[in-house]
């Protein structure tokens, strides 16, 4: 079977901004694929090109082996002919139609027989637990319910590909988590391919089979959530995908010292063989992968915060700050105390490379 979507050199330029730059990507049938990146990196633009709302400045787009968009041939299949479902951040449910009419609208457009329209609308409403609200007008309903209408409407036509643009960003945090599972359940039930745009890495990790991390229109990495978490391609991906510590270091006599905290002793860990002596390095680590230990580099506890079951520490090695998070039962260090740290896994990055928070 051919891929659900294939993007070749897809590029979009707005004035002087390259919103999407030479994007190459293949998404398989039935996959749940996320676009992850900070706001303004080009996720929506990519999705809108896939949907057919934007033309391509360069590149081609295939779906199921069929050409959908091509800048070379100036060919664009209009959005209404692509048979995709789409859900927007601002819900975009039609306030002048009842819930039922909203969901039935795409089926009526397709001129399906009456009984089939009724059947499929009711099924979509049932799948999104909206049967009771069918005759109500959307403005009377909560944000979560409105987004369910949008989902039901997109599901009703039985699309091959479902495009979701930050569908949960306008919802309360607790509802957001619940809806994630509902989207996943809908996918299992109907078997469509999902393309999920988000700037929330937890959401992307929880939902996707594979994902892509973008920065300023350029793909940084494509892979499974765990691969990306464990093997980030660069400093940007590392910092964007989870909590991160970057510690400036110097190598002296085969040992690693914190730059600005040499008096605290060496940091444990291996030094990669191919380090360039002319470059200054940061070591990178997740706050959860640093342990308190009887020996190791010395640090001072500056702040201690309880976050439910885990404790978040702000530590200082010399004058360099870092965060450590430990489960409560392993948390022995007290405020103001000096402790020793062991690093479980170190990654080395050029100090000048950008992190996500700086962009």
């Amino acid at each position: 079977m051919s891929a659900a979507l294939e993007l070749k050199d897809v590029t979009k330029i707005f004035g002087s901004v390259k919103a999407v730059n030479k994007l190459n990507l293949t998404i398989e049938q039935g996959e749940c694929f996320s676009f992850l990146g900070p706001s303004g990196c080009g996720k929506t633009t990519t999705l809108r090109m896939i949907a057919g709302f934007e033309n391509l400045d360069e590149g081609e787009l295939y779906s199921g082996g069929k050409l959908f968009s091509s800048s070379y041939k100036h060919y664009y299949l209009p959005p209404e002919k692509r048979d995709f479902g789409m859900v927007f951040q601002a819900f975009a449910v039609w306030p002048h139609m009842t819930v039922y009419d909203n969901v039935a609208f795409p089926l009526k457009i397709k001129k399906l027989p009456k009984n089939e329209i009724a059947e499929r609308t009711e099924m979509a409403l049932k799948a999104t637990s909206l049967t009771k609200e069918a005759e109500m007008f959307p403005q009377k309903l909560s944000g979560g319910q409105q987004q369910r209408i949008a989902l039901a409407r997109a599901v009703a036509i039985n699309p091959k590909v479902m495009l979701l643009d930050e569908p949960l960003s306008n919802l309360d945090p607790h509802l957001r988590e619940e809806m994630r599972f509902e989207i996943k359940a809908l996918q299992d039930k109907f078997g469509f391919t999902v393309i999920y745009v988000t700037h929330d890495q937890a959401e992307a990790m929880a939902l996707s089979d594979r994902m892509l991390v973008m920065k300023e229109g350029v793909v940084q990495q494509v892979g499974g959530p765990l691969d990306i978490y464990n093997d980030p391609a660069n400093k940007f991906v590392f910092s964007f995908i989870g909590l991160s510590d970057f510690i400036p270091v110097k190598v002296k006599n085969g040992q690693i010292f914190v730059d600005g905290g040499e008096e605290c002793g060496p940091v444990n860990g291996d030094i990669p063989k191919n380090l360039d002596p002319s470059i200054e390095y940061d070591i990178a680590c997740r706050p959860s992968e640093i342990d308190f230990a009887p020996d190791g580099v010395r640090a001072q506890v500056v702040r201690r915060t309880y976050l439910g079951d885990i404790v978040d520490y702000l530590l200082k090695i010399g004058n360099v700050e870092l965060r450590v998070q430990k489960p409560r039962r392993h948390s022995t260090a007290q405020l103001g105390e000096t402790c020793h740290l062991r690093f479980n896994r170190l990654l080395w990055y050029d100090r000048k490379e950008e992190t996500a928070s700086k962009t």
Partner: protein, 568 residues
């Protein structure tokens, strides 16, 4: 101590403001309306419904009512079609030069419709219209092909200058609408045509209806166009009939009584229209405003792109440029009826406008009356809306009731009310003075002021005032340092919403002017009636220039001043 505080509270600023606000509205608006109803329904102290029926049975009053309704209906219908079409064209298609077109479609709003009606009469009157004569010569016709002095002509001309009400409402709604509402229909498989019918139009329907009802309200009580195009041919609507009756009888009581009966009908129609508008707006106000601004998908017109653009340009040339140019050309003719050849043209008429006592005083009257009215009404509006929107005070409902009253009062009604109220009945006689025009203008434009200022005040969250009070500022200090600076754009807006229409007012002034208190509108109208077409056109030309300067130059300058003050 506690007692003293209580007493002080009872007569605090809120109560004083409330009483003062109510007093203004009662004197300026309520009393004149009550006088109209009393005059209409009571004769010699007795309730007299038979007299009302008798007046309505007279053929000419009955016809005037019918004409008013037909004209209002026709104008509303065509204005809605044209307004929605152009708004959609500019907001949802890839028509070229959108910005320029958008600005140009606002111009018909600035043009006083009775001045344009004069121009159209010059061009298309059946006997001597320039275009008619030209067409007759070109095609060897025996009679004029187009007669503008008919019901159809009146409807056409009013439509040309009233459709911006609809255009503005609809293009505003289309611009604010969340584009994903349309995109989600598109991805559902709907074509652009289906989306327009099933999604876009239904969602902006409340705005369409709101604009249409505004047009209807305005046209129903409009004096200028029917008086210039209709009266000569015996076509009257209610305002022109009232004028004719009063004018013909030299202001006799009986004529005024007939006027009040017709005026009562206008008030009833206007009230119904406003009720309808409220119902529509309340029921159909959809939350369609976008969270993020993004361009909506536009319909690609392809082959129709330039033809439609040309239609827009031709429409604007016909309705804006041609009448304006005509006015200036006529104003430059040595004698009316000559052709527009250089040898027949002169600047003398324009110079004369500033030399003739009558025209000079008309310009002066209009300028100072508009400025004064705009200023006073704006300030009164600030106080009244502040009490309505912000204050918690007993008896506010009286003010809320009185506050909506000005909306349903057409200009003719206000003029009649003012004649009845300010002609010495209550010890003050302003008849034939500028004073009566001044109080009538205040009544007429109070609605604009309250609307603009209330809208601005509703934007100011209560917490801003509370924050100021908690910093130790008094109520008065809070008002002057926090509230007034925040609503200043609303106040400036109110000023111009009053100043500019007042400058060219005709409907009210024509019933109230005295020998020395003609306004620009009245002077143009009177000159035109006396057959002094050339002089009327010259004065109209000067008026257009004054209005244009007011609309663009002063407004822009003040807006900029305000902005720099804010950013500084």
């Amino acid at each position: 101590m506690s007692k003293a505080v209580k007493v002080q509270k009872k007569f605090g600023m809120a109560e004083v403001a409330l009483i003062f606000s109510i007093a203004i509205l009662v004197v300026v608006v309520a009393v004149p309306v009550i006088m109209i109803f009393l005059t209409a329904f009571f004769k010699d102290g007795h309730f007299n419904l038979a007299g009302v029926v008798e007046v309505l049975k007279q053929k000419d009053t009955y016809l005037a009512l019918k004409n008013s309704l037909i004209i209002a209906f026709g104008v509303t219908l065509f204005s809605t079609i044209i307004g929605v079409f152009f708004a959609w064209l500019l907001a949802r298609t890839d028509i070229p030069c959108k910005k320029a077109l958008n600005a140009m479609f606002m111009v018909p709003f600035m043009l006083p419709s009775f001045i344009c009606a004069m121009a159209w009469k010059v061009l298309l009157s059946p006997r001597s219209g320039y275009i008619n004569k030209m067409l007759m010569a070109m095609f060897h016709l025996d009679s004029a092909p187009i007669d503008i002095m008919t019901m159809g002509g009146i409807i056409a001309i009013e439509t040309m200058y009233l459709f911006p009400f609809v255009f503005l409402q609809v293009s505003g709604a289309l611009e604010r609408m969340d584009p994903t509402l349309e995109e989600s229909a598109r991805i559902s498989g709907a074509s652009l045509w289906t989306i327009t019918r099933k999604i876009t139009l239904p969602l902006v329907m409340p705005s369409i209806v709101a604009g249409a009802l505004l047009v209807c309200l305005y046209s129903l009580a409009h004096f200028g166009v029917p008086s210039i195009l209709g009266v000569e041919k015996g076509i009257y609507n209610i305002p022109t009939k009232i004028y004719e009756r009063i004018y013909a009888s030299g202001g006799s009581y009986e004529a005024i009584r007939v006027g009040t009966i017709l005026a009562t009908i206008l008030v009833i129609c206007a009230t119904l229209i406003l009720k309808l508008q409220n119902v529509v707006l309340k029921k159909g106000r959809f939350q369609i405003i976008a969270g993020k601004s993004m361009r909506p998908v536009v319909l690609k017109l392809r082959g129709m792109r330039w033809p439609l653009f040309i239609i827009c340009v031709v429409y604007l040339l016909l309705t804006v440029v041609m009448p304006t140019v005509t006015i200036f050309l006529i104003g430059g003719l040595k004698t009316y009826g000559l052709s527009f050849l250089p040898k027949n043209m002169t600047f003398a008429n324009y110079a004369e406008v500033f030399q003739m006592k009558m025209t000079r005083s008309a310009i002066w009257n209009s300028v100072y009356l508009s400025t004064l009215t705009a200023f006073v009404t704006m300030l009164a509006g600030v106080m009244i809306s502040y009490v309505i929107v912000k204050m918690k005070v007993k008896g506010k409902f009286i003010l809320e009731f009185l506050g909506v009253l000005p909306y349903s009062l057409p200009g003719t009604v206000i003029a009649l009310g003012c004649i009845l109220t300010w002609s010495g009945k209550f010890g003050i006689n302003l008849y034939n003075t500028a004073g009566i025009i001044f109080v009538a203008y205040i009544a007429r434009y109070m609605a604009f002021s309250i609307k603009s200022n209330s809208a601005a005040l509703e934007q100011v969250s209560d917490s801003l005032e509370e924050a100021s009070r908690s910093c130790g500022a008094t109520h008065w200090q809070t008002l002057t340092h926090i509230v007034v600076p925040l609503i200043r754009p609303g106040m400036i807006n109110a000023f111009f919403l009053i100043f500019l229409p007042a400058l060219r007012e005709l409907t009210t002034s024509v019933l109230l002017y005295g020998p020395t208190t003609r306004t620009i509108g009245v002077a143009i109208y009177a000159l035109n009636e006396d057959g002094e077409t050339v002089r009327a056109a010259a004065l109209a030309g000067i008026a257009l220039i004054i209005i244009f300067i007011g609309e663009t130059f002063i407004k822009g300058l003040l807006a900029r001043l305000d902005k720099t003050k804010r950013s500084a």
